[in-house]
Subunit: 648 residues, 2 copies
C-alpha cells in the first residue's frame, strides 16, 4: 500500500518498450532542458532571495504574482530528478540538486519560514492570504521534493529545513485558540504531509494534513475562513480575483462546503484532484468517520467520471476557472464553448485513481488511470521531450491550434510530467508483501512490459511481463516465486477486452471480480508462464447521450488509445474538422500497423490507422488518417485537430 | 418612416382579436398593477429626493446600486401609459402621470441635472462612471417618456425639464476640448435623443446621439474612455464589476471596438440591441459613411440571427453577462450550460428589426420581428397581466422552473413589455404617405386583425384586415382608397408559408420580392377585397446543424408559434423532459383546435396540439400535449418545461 512514489522502485520497465522510451526521453532530454529553463527564467537562483526584475511584472491573474509558483517549480524538478536517480547517474543533474538544496537551506529564516515571494517581495504578508497566494502549496511541493531527496540520497539536507518549516506552519495554523483556523487555497501540502509522515513517523505531520482536510469549508463563528481572511486583509466585499466568477466563489477551491457535504466535483480541477488524493491517502490512517470519507470519495469520483470527464480522461471544461463545469457539459474546443483539460489535472486524476485502488481494487479506478496515462498525460509532452502542453483541448479552433510550447509563465505542468514519468511504474503495478505470512501479491493495473521484484524475507519474487502494450494486446507473464512464498496476482482486464480476452493456460475456475482476474498460488505454481490476450479491435466511442455540448460524435479508439485527426495527414481540412461527418454505417477501419517498428523513440509516430469511405460536408473524402491523440501536435502542421468527429 | 411609437396611432386592433386581448390586459390590469408596485417599492416617490431605506442595501451586482434604475422604471411606466391614453381615459393613471411629472420637474437641479441616485446618494459622483452607473441610460428613458407625454398631452411639462437636462449633458460630454469624450455604458439615450429631435427639431439633439454612437469604442490618446474614466476614479487596475468576466471586458457593453469595426454581436444583449437600434434609427439622417454603417448593421444582424439566436427569437445564452456567447452556442437551460434570453433583449430585437425594415423592406427582418413578438415577448407576461419573466429559458431545470414573478429588483422588463404593447400596432404595419404625389403605401408585416387609416391630403385611405392570425392563416383584406390616391400594399409572406400560400383573386403578375407580395394600384383598384391564405401545418424545427450545445432536437411549431411541453399536460415528467426522445418518423401531430374560442382573455389557453406515438427513455409515451411557448407557466404546475425535444 506504499505510495507509488515509493513503490515504483519495485518495477523496472523493459528496455525500449513503449513506456520506457517515454521515460528515457525525460531522463535524456527533459530534465536537462527544464534545468536550463529554471536557470534562464530566474527560478534556479530564486532561493538566493535576491530581487528579480520579473517580480515587478503585473500579474496575469490578479492577485497572483507570476513568480509566486517558483518555489514549487524548483521543488518539482528536484523531486522528478530524484526518482530517476534511483538507478542512474548524471553529474549535471546531481550537482544542480545539491546546489539547489544548499540554496533552499540558506533561504530559510531563523524561525523556519521558507518561501521566495514572502521573503523577498512581501515579508509582511506571510499567512495573510492562504486563499490565493499559494504559500502552503509551495511548502507542499518542497516537502515532496525533500521526501524524494531523502529517499534517494539517504540524507536529511533537504528534509531537515522542511521539517522545521512544517513546525512553524503547525504553530501558526491549527485548531488551537490563537492559531489561524485555515487551510490552503490550493491543496497539495496535505499530500506532502502524509508522505512526510511516512518518513518521519511524526504524528504531528499527519495531524496537520488531517486538520487541513477536515477544516476545509467549515463555518466558524458564522464565517468562512477565506471570507474572514479577506476581511482581515481589508479587501472590499466585492473584490475578487480574476478567476472567481463571483465574489466568494469558494467552490473554485472546493471549500464551499466541507468535503463530507460535497456531492459533485467543482471548481479548479487540479485543486480538486490534489485534495481528493490527500483524502484517499489519509484513508489508511483514519479512525473516525472512515466510511463517510470513503463515501464522499466514491461520490465525487463517480460524479467526475460519469458526468464531467472527456472521452480521453481529460477533466475541466472551463478555462476561466481552469476547472469543472456542470454535469454533461463537455465541449471539445473553444469554439464549442470551452475545454481546458489541463495536464496537471489529468495527472491528478491518475494520482487519485491510484489511491482509490488502494482502498478498493476495482477496474473503475484503474480503467480511468490507464485512460489518462495514454490519452491525457502522455499527450502533454512532445516526442523530443522539450515542449509541453498546459491545456489539452479535444478539438482545435481558430486561434487555438493544437501546439506544444517550450515553457509557461505558470510552469506547473512540465515538471509534473517529469515526476509522473519518474515514478511511473508505481502506477503500473501495486505490490503487497506480508513477511509474517510469507505472502506476496502483485496487482497488474497496466500490463506494460517490465519486471517487478519483491523481497519476501530472504526470498525474491519476480514477475516479468513481456508485451508491446499498449501497441498490441498479447501479454506474456512469467512469475518466479519460490515455493515457500504464497504469491497471488490480480490482473486488470480492460473494459474494451472484457468480453473477448483470453488467457492461456486457462485457470479453472476463472475468478474475475471488479474487472480483475485473480490468479491464486495453485494456478501460478503449476503455470508460472501464461499468456493474456486483449484483442485490440478498432472501435468507435460515442459520448454519453446526455452530453449537452457534443453534437453526435464518434471517436476512434483501439485498445487503450484514443485517436484524432490532424491536418498533417488530412491536408484538405480548413475548418478544424468541424463540418466533417462520419458515416458510421459505411466506415471501415483498416489497421495499418507500426511501420516504424520498435526502433527508437519515434517508433510510435508511425502507428496510424486509416478510415475508409467517409463523407464530410459537401465533398466526399475517401480516406481519413487518424493518429493516437497522445501523438498530436508533433509534426509541422497547422494545428488543426479533432477527436470526436460529427456523425451523419 | 416614422418611429413605431408615433405611427402606431394609424392602426387599431380589431376588438377582442388575439393581440387586442393582450393589449387590453395591459390597459385593464398591468398598468395599474405596475403603478401599485412603483408606489409600494418606493419608486413612485423617489423623485421627491428623500432618502429611502433601500438605498443602503448592498448591491446585487456590484458596483450598481439596486435602486440605480428607478428613474427609468418611472419613465418607462409613464411612456407606456401615454401610448394607451391616445384613445382612452383613466383618471387614476392620468393623475399619477401628472403627479410624477410634477415630481420630476421639482427634482431638477438649477443647472438642469436630473437623476435620483446622483442627487440623493452620491452627488459628488455625477458623470464619473458612465461605464457602470446608468446615468445616461436613465436620462434616455426619461426623454422617451417626455416624448410620449408630449405626443398625447400636447404640452411641454415633461419635455421642458428633459430638454434642459440634455443641454447640460451636451455641455459636459462631446468632442470639444474640456468635455468628457464619453458615452453611456448602457446605450438607450441615443434612441431617445433621435426621438427627441423628431419633436424638437434641435440639431444638437441629433448631434449628441451621433456623437455617442461614433465615439463608442474609440481610442483617444492611447486610451479607451472607460479605462481612462476608471483610472480617474482611482480604481485598481484589476477591479471589475461583478458582470465583467475579466478586467476591462469592454465587449460587455459593445465598446471593445468602434461599431464600424465590429463583426460579431457581443456582450449584454439588451445593450447591443439598443445600440444597434439607435444606429439604424440614425440612418435616415446620416450623410457620411452611411453605407459603412448599414454594412455594419447587416453584418451584426446576420451574425446574431444566424448564429446567436434561439429557435424562438430569444437572444443571450450567458447569465453572467446577460448576453451573447460564441457562435452556435445555444444551450436551452441552465443544466445544459446556460440560456438567458432576457425579455428586454427580445423587445430590443423587435426594435432593431423594425428600424432595419425602414432601411430595407425585407422579410429577413420582419420574420424575426414576428418570431420575437409571438415567442419571446408575449411569453414574458402572465395571462392576467400581473406577473412577468425576466429570463426566458427554453428548458427548465432543477432550481430553475419556468415561472412568472410579480416584480424584480431590476425591474426593466415589466414596463418595457407595457410600452411595447402600447405602441404594438406600430410593428404590425408601416405606412408612408406622399401628399405631393398623392400616394399612400402600407406594408403589412404581421397580418393581425385591425384597421389602418391614413390621411392623404383631404382623403382617407383605410385598410381593414380581418383574421384570427396568429391562430389561423386565413386573412381577409379590404382596402378603401379613393381613386384619386394611388395606394400600394406590400404584404409579408412568412417563410413557413412561402411555398404554399394562396391569394385570391390572384394578382397577375404576382410580384414577390424579399418575402413581400407587392400589390400595385392596378390590382387594388379592381380588387379592393382579397383573401390571403397562409396554411398553418404543424411542423418540426431543428436547430442549425452547427449548434454545439443542442443534442439533436426538434421543436414543434405551427404558423408563427413555437410550442413547448409542460408538466401540467404531461404529468409523468420528472426530469424536465431532458431524457425524452421523439421518434420523428412515427410522430403524427393532430391539431385539436381552440376549444375556448375567442371568448375572453383566456381563450388562447386552449389552443393545444397533441402528438402521437412517441417514446421517451425507458417507457413509451403514447401522446404528448404541447402548448404555445408564449403560454407556458400560466397554470399551477411544477415549472417543468422544454421547447426543443431530443430526437431518436
Amino acid at each position: 500500500m506504499a505510495q507509488p512514489q515509493v513503490s515504483y522502485v519495485n518495477t523496472t520497465l523493459k528496455k525500449n518498450s513503449f513506456l520506457d522510451r517515454k521515460r528515457q526521453i525525460v531522463w535524456e532530454h527533459t530534465l536537462l532542458h527544464q534545468l536550463e529553463l529554471l536557470k534562464k527564467t530566474g527560478r534556479y537562483d530564486a532561493f538566493r532571495l535576491q530581487w528579480h526584475p520579473s517580480y515587478s511584472d503585473p500579474p496575469d491573474h490578479w492577485p497572483v504574482p507570476n513568480h509566486l509558483f517558483w518555489d514549487s517549480d524548483v521543488g518539482k524538478w528536484i523531486e522528478a530528478a530524484c526518482y530517476f536517480l534511483h538507478d542512474r547517474k548524471n553529474s549535471v543533474i546531481e550537482d544542480a540538486i545539491h546546489e539547489l538544496v544548499e540554496m533552499i537551506r540558506s533561504a530559510q529564516k531563523e524561525d523556519g519560514y521558507l518561501n521566495i515571494h514572502f521573503s523577498v517581495v512581501a515579508p509582511e504578508e506571510r499567512f495573510t492570504n492562504l486563499e490565493h497566494l499559494h504559500e502552503l502549496y509551495n511548502a507542499g511541493h518542497l516537502i515532496e521534493a525533500a521526501v524524494a531527496h531523502h529517499q534517494v540520497f539517504k540524507n536529511d539536507r533537504l528534509l531537515e529545513p522542511l521539517v522545521k518549516y512544517v513546525k512553524l506552519i503547525a504553530a501558526k495554523i491549527g485548531p488551537e485558540t490563537g492559531k489561524l483556523h485555515g487551510y490552503p487555497g490550493h491543496p497539495e501540502i496535505e499530500i506532502a504531509l502524509i508522505r512526510l509522515h511516512q518518513v518521519t513517523k511524526n504524528p504531528e505531520h499527519l495531524a496537520l494534513a488531517q486538520y487541513f482536510i477536515e477544516e476545509r469549508g467549515a463555518i466558524r463563528d458564522g464565517k468562512h475562513f477565506f471570507a474572514a481572511e479577506a476581511e482581515a486583509r481589508g479587501w472590499h466585499p466585492f473584490q475578487r480575483p480574476s478567476y472567481y466568477p463571483k465574489p466568494q466563489s469558494f467552490w473554485y477551491n472546493q471549500s464551499h462546503k466541507t468535503i463530507l457535504e460535497q456531492d459533485s466535483v467543482e471548481g479548479h480541477s487540479v485543486r480538486a484532484m490534489y485534495l481528493l488524493t490527500a483524502v484517499a491517502a489519509l484513508d489508511k490512517y483514519r479512525v473516525e468517520r472512515k466510511q463517510e470519507y470513503r463515501d464522499a470519495l466514491v461520490r465525487l469520483w463517480d460524479n467526475m467520471v460519469s458526468k464531467k470527464m472527456y472521452i480521453n480522461g481529460g477533466v475541466g471544461a472551463i478555462a476561466d476557472w481552469e476547472g469543472f463545469s456542470i454535469d454533461y457539459f463537455l465541449p471539445q474546443g473553444t469554439d464549442e464553448g470551452g475545454c481546458y483539460a489541463e495536464t496537471c489535472a489529468a495527472i491528478g486524476v491518475m494520482m487519485l485513481a491510484e489511491r482509490m485502488l488502494q482502498i478498493d481494487l476495482n477496474g473503475k479506478y484503474s480503467d480511468i488511470m490507464e485512460l489518462c496515462l495514454f490519452n491525457s498525460v502522455l499527450c502533454c509532452m512532445s516526442t523530443d521531450g522539450k515542449r509541453f502542453t498546459y491545456v489539452n483541448q479535444l478539438a482545435s479552433s481558430e486561434g487555438k491550434p493544437a501546439r506544444f510550447e517550450p515553457w509557461f509563465t505558470c510552469a506547473c505542468c512540465p515538471p509534473s510530467l517529469s515526476r509522473t514519468l519518474g515514478f511511473l511504474t508505481g502506477y503500473l503495478r501495486t505490490t503487497n508483501v506480508d513477511h509474517d505470512a510469507n505472502t506476496a501479491h502483485i496487482s497488474v493495473h497496466i500490463p506494460a512490459a517490465g519486471t517487478t521484484t519483491l523481497k519476501v524475507n530472504n526470498e525474491t519474487v519476480t514477475l516479468d511481463i513481456d508485451s508491446d502494450y499498449p501497441l498490441s494486446g498479447t501479454i506474456n507473464f512469467t512469475l518466479h516465486s519460490p515455493s515457500s512464498v504464497s504469491t497471488t496476482l490480480a490482473i486488470r482486464i480492460p473494459p474494451w477486452a472484457s468480453s473477448n480476452f483470453t488467457i492461456s493456460p486457462l485457470p479453472i475456475p476463472l475468478r474475475q471480480e471488479t474487472s480483475y482476474l485473480h490468479l491464486p498460488p495453485s494456478y501460478l505454481l503449476s503455470t508460472p508462464t501464461f499468456t493474456l490476450t486483449l484483442p485490440m479491435r478498432p472501435r468507435f466511442l460515442a459520448p454519453h447521450p446526455a452530453t449537452t455540448t457534443a453534437r453526435r460524435t464518434l471517436a476512434l479508439a483501439r485498445g487503450p488509445m484514443v485517436y484524432c485527426l490532424e491536418d498533417v495527414d488530412n491536408t484538405w481540412v480548413c475548418d478544424h474538422f468541424r463540418s466533417l461527418r462520419l458515416d458510421a454505417g459505411r466506415a471501415r477501419v483498416r489497421f495499418v500497423g507500426q511501420r516504424g517498428g520498435a526502433g527508437g523513440a519515434q517508433g510510435e509516430e508511425e502507428d496510424e490507422e486509416e478510415e475508409v469511405a467517409v463523407a464530410p460536408n459537401g465533398e466526399r473524402v475517401r480516406e481519413l488518417t487518424f493518429v493516437p491523440f497522445y501523438f498530436r501536435g508533433n509534426r509541422e502542421g497547422r494545428g488543426q485537430m479533432r477527436v470526436g468527429i460529427g456523425r451523419m
